[in-house]
């Protein structure tokens, strides 16, 4: 068994959830859990992480309030060469994807990305990850002295994090200036136009939604799940939603992680536009509706009853 080190992921003064997911798994794997926090103003941030590690390494760098792979790579190369953890964990996120592979080259170590589980076996690190769009899983091994893993968000449940020793150690490293990659700032996505083809979660309505007066209900569900509203062609034809929301052969093709089809029969031209979705959940009154042939989960029932109940449960859960 070796040490597990977690790279704390933060943005705009908040610790990102993936950090806690990784800490939870690390706690399960080892009695020694180290975390490393890099940034400018660390006094508040560090208190949100320190209690859950054996030791939190803080690296304070002037002018580095937000992530930039260049200085992070310089810092972590030096840190890992010194400390040699068996595993370095980071999120398979925009930060992790930018950093892990190139850091691996700098250190000469194996990098396994987008893992949903991992552990030790005979001195090697193994990890499980999904391939072919989730149709198959793969067990991958790396035998380098240190192995970098990027963890898929939602793989581990951060509930029940234990209180650990919580020591703190400030460390510094010499940094070579990196004018060739400058972080300029954040941009919120423009709200005006919705591109359903880029959404991860889609709530889609068909004629079974009944009428335009029920569209806001579906919109509410989409919002509650962090997704966007889409529809099948009859809904556009009736003018209940604009054409840019249409999924199907004469509309848009979507490949979201989750597609919730409400009152959609599953007509051929529609299915062709969404069959690539990773998880399809369908609600329809008709048990023979063709949508159930392509859906992963189905509910035979009235959309107008199922959705309000679900929304209530979602609201309760938030509290």
């Amino acid at each position: 068994m070796g040490k597990v080190m977690v790279l704390v992921e933060h943005r705009r003064g908040e610790i990102r959830e993936i950090t806690y997911e990784m800490l939870k798994k690390a706690q399960q794997l080892d009695e020694e859990v180290e975390a490393v926090l890099i940034g400018e103003n660390l006094s508040e941030l560090k208190e949100k992480v320190r209690p859950y590690c054996s030791k939190l390494l803080t690296v304070k760098v002037e002018g580095l309030s937000e992530f930039n792979s260049e200085p992070y790579q310089q810092i972590l190369s030096q840190l890992l060469t010194q400390r040699k953890p068996k595993i370095l964990l980071m999120g398979h996120s925009a930060q992790g994807m930018d950093l892990a592979p190139s850091l691996g080259v700098a250190l000469g170590c194996g990098v396994i990305t987008d893992v949903v589980d991992f552990g030790f076996q005979n001195g090697e690190v193994w990890a499980t990850r999904q391939v072919y769009g989730g149709k198959l899983s793969a067990k991958v091994k790396a035998s380098s002295e240190t192995v970098i893993l990027t963890v898929r968000s939602g793989s581990f449940d951060p509930q029940g994090l234990l209180a650990f020793k919580g020591e703190e150690e400030e460390v510094t490293f010499p940094l070579v200036p990196f004018p060739y990659k400058k972080f300029l700032g954040f941009l919120e996505a423009p709200k005006a136009e919705v591109d359903i083809t880029q959404a991860d979660i889609i709530v889609s309505v068909g004629r079974g939604i009944g009428g335009p007066e029920n569209i806001p209900l579906a919109e509410e569900l989409a919002k509650a799940l962090g997704g966007v509203l889409a529809c099948s062609r009859p809904v556009v034809d009736k003018g209940w939603l604009p054409k840019d929301r249409q999924v199907g052969t004469s509309g848009k093709t979507v490949k979201p992680k989750v597609y919730i089809a409400l009152g959609i029969s599953g007509a051929f031209q529609h299915v062709a536009g969404m069959k690539g979705a990773q998880m399809i959940i369908a609600v329809n009154k008709d048990p023979k509706a063709p949508i159930f042939n392509v859906a992963h989960y189905g509910i035979v029932g009235d959309v107008l009853q199922v959705i309000p109940n679900l929304l209530n449960k979602l609201k309760e859960r938030k509290k």
Partner: protein, 375 residues
């Protein structure tokens, strides 16, 4: 060669018979008469018109032109230029690429092309079996669950009547009729080559198709020497006349027949579907006022299943189902998979799906013959 020379556009009288008969002229920006004139002044401006994608290639314009010009072919040629430039609507790209990769514009797996025949023993002519004729199923009837009832009906009826036929199985590729009309001539030629090779090496003497679109391509554009190509309604009428349809159930229903453009207008097959329907005991056949040569195009052809241009307002298919309602019929019968899908969609949007049904003639035949189509 410039389109002006290729299509002899200087000969156009600007009489307006083309636009006058165009089924989408009232609900889209497509004005084919204007295009015939504007091309004389240059192609670039015309190529910018989104309305190019509204054409259903029903060919009414070409059939009516007093000078024998081919306005519908001009539209296809404009589309071909856009295809070469790569600048076509995204849904068209998806359909064309899907056809290239999977052999059908719906992007469905080739391996699943024969799923429609589950539970029906059909000869596969690419696996060493032989037969007199070929049933060319078509993409939509192979993959769409609603249309699989039609392909199953056709196969079951032929078996009942003792017809010796086989299919090309998962080696059947899209006939390419719509692909050609979307302007991808190169892909059409590839598909034709693939299918022709399979058809000729199977040794069949005749081919029967589900769809009038496949009929059009195989009969008129494939050059299948010595092989007769039929639409299933023509073939079935012969079987009916030979007494090979032992009807068991009368269908005491009022039915109106909708002429598909690619069957009627373009291939002159008007009576066989009607005679088949009249052959079903107790079926009462009515006619639309716009029938036969002037049948109202459902807007399913010419690649329109995958693209829309500038259409607004009530669709032709919606007008058609309203007409059927006014006639007081129970069933709209048709013999084209695209007509069936567009008319059924229209029943839903017009709220008429409790009152009326759309059925393919093959489905009505299986009902009357007492054949179980469901798996």
């Amino acid at each position: 060669m410039q389109l002006v020379q290729r299509f002899e556009l200087y000969a156009c009288l600007q009489c307006g018979k083309c636009t006058g008969g165009c089924p989408v002229s009232l609900r889209t920006d497509l004005n084919i008469r204007r295009i015939m004139r504007e091309l004389i002044f240059g192609e670039e401006e015309v190529l910018k018109k989104e309305a190019i994608w509204d054409c259903t290639t029903c060919k009414t314009c070409t059939l009516r032109c007093p000078r024998g010009l081919e306005p519908s072919e001009v539209i296809v040629a404009l589309r071909a230029i856009l295809v070469e430039r790569g600048r076509v609507p995204k849904t068209v790209i998806d359909a064309l690429e899907a056809t290239y990769i999977h052999g059908n514009p719906w992007g469905r797996a080739r391996q699943k092309r024969t799923d429609w025949a589950d539970g029906i023993k059909v000869k596969d002519l690419t696996k060493g079996e032989e037969s007199e004729g070929l049933y060319f199923v078509g993409c939509a009837p192979s993959y769409d669950p609603r249309l699989q009832r039609v392909s199953r009906s056709i196969a079951l009826i032929m078996k009942l009547a003792g017809v010796d036929f086989g299919i090309l199985g998962t080696s059947e590729s899209c006939c390419g009729n719509e692909i050609k009309r979307l302007g991808e001539e190169g892909l059409f030629e590839e598909l034709r080559e693939q299918n022709k090779e399979k058809i000729l090496s199977s040794g069949v003497k005749w081919v029967v198709t589900t769809s009038p679109h496949c009929l059009n391509a195989l009969k008129n554009e494939y050059g299948l020497e010595g092989i007769r190509v039929y639409h299933y309604t023509e073939f079935f009428l012969e079987l009916l006349k030979q007494g090979r349809f032992p009807f068991k159930n009368p269908l005491a229903q009022k039915v109106v027949y909708h002429d598909p453009c690619f069957l009627g207008k373009q291939n002159n097959i008007y009576d066989p579907p009607r005679d088949l329907l009249r052959g079903i005991p107790e079926l009462k056949l009515l006619e639309f006022s716009r029938s036969r040569e002037i049948s109202l195009c459902c807007e399913g052809g010419g690649g329109r299943m995958w693209v829309e241009g500038t259409g607004r307002g009530t669709r032709n298919s919606e007008i058609r189902v309203k007409d059927a309602e006014a006639l007081g019929v129970d069933i709209i019968a048709t013999a084209c998979p695209f007509c069936l899908l567009t008319l059924e969609d229209a029943l839903k949007t017009m709220g008429l799906d409790e009152k009326l049904q759309v059925k393919d003639i093959a489905e009505l035949l299986t009902e009357a013959l007492g054949l179980e189509v469901e798996r």
